[in-house]
Symmetry: C2
Subunit: 198 residues, 2 copies
């Protein structure tokens, strides 16, 4: 890791960390919603299963490993209030809107979260299930190459996102150090090794 990079990341984490939790309560629905049903199987048995909706929908998602023109990677640093550090270091990602093409969604999310546009988008994994047990949502993983900054971030209300730039090797170090700890970002970096390892 280059000198000063971890300090830079720790400052971003410090900025977005949770300092107080209030009004914790169970709710019947909100952004999440639970759907239950009985499923008759071909073996003659019937099982009861649940799944959750997000925002009243069963959205697919996209995640984008983002390489800049100078060959470094961009990560988004944002509140992930449920994890131990309360802040996540992840690839840019987002939900595909109804009727939107996945590739279009991926470019839109990349631009909104980082202000960058790619020269090339390479699909790394298509249509996989992030949580096959409890959601219909499918995830599409891209490598965005030679991205160029064309504007500032354009974030939703209550979205706070810092940008952290580092090399591929430094990103692997961040996995080892436990900073990058979500399954999807780890998988993306594993899948992209062939593009970056010298």
């Amino acid at each position: 890791m280059r000198e000063g990079k971890l300090e830079e990341l720790n400052k971003l984490i410090e900025k977005y960390k949770t300092i107080e939790i209030t009004n914790e309560k169970q709710v019947p629905e909100g952004f999440l919603k639970i759907i239950q049903a009985d499923y008759k199987l071909n073996n003659g048995e019937t099982i009861n299963r649940e799944r959750y909706l997000k925002n009243n929908n069963e959205p697919n998602s996209c995640i984008i490993l983002t390489e800049t023109e100078d060959g470094e990677l961009l990560f988004v640093v944002q509140p992930r209030v449920h994890c131990e550090r309360t802040v996540g270091i992840e690839c840019p990602a987002g939900l595909v809107e109804k009727g939107e093409e996945t590739l279009v969604a991926a470019k839109r999310e990349l631009l909104e979260e980082t202000g960058y546009i790619p020269e090339e988008m390479i699909p790394l994994i298509e249509q996989c299930y992030q949580d096959i047990a409890t959601s219909k949502g499918r995830t599409n993983i891209y490598l965005a190459r030679k991205c160029k900054k064309i504007k500032e971030q354009n974030l939703d209300e209550s979205e706070y996102i810092g940008i952290f730039k580092c090399t591929f090797e430094e990103a692997l170090e961040l996995i080892e150090l436990g900073y990058i700890c979500d399954v999807i970002t780890i998988l993306v970096l594993e899948k992209a090794k062939k593009y970056f390892e010298k």
Copy 2:
């Protein structure tokens, strides 16, 4: 893929597939439950976020890439009613019980789902988040080597699990063919490449 292997897998899928869905409804809670709270961030903002509990708990999970004594891999084939095929082909996995050590849970789940015990358990990834946005649950990934069958499966009520055995190379083919399509099993196979690739 060896001759007959895909037919064998397709027969298992046929057995466990969903043929009818009834009584679909929204529920306030069930196996899943939604918890909402306000999170005050260090940047001065407050955001509202939700997470889900599973079985009234925030369980960690374990997943076990299972190598048998003859060097092949074991996968569990089971109803995953929300996915396109309605049946998943995955590594053995399960939830860690309250107070249980993760390694103990991994061996227990492996034994229950397959009837096998390992000679060696190698941690591949520890304490990662499968869904960092909406769950506190952490996942621990193991490679179980030289597993030996010592008894029959011991399944919970409403758990139906077929066993499919294939080589590492065949498992990679199953990803390409879309049979293996959950993020965790794909990640496990990526991480284990160094142990299996000749």
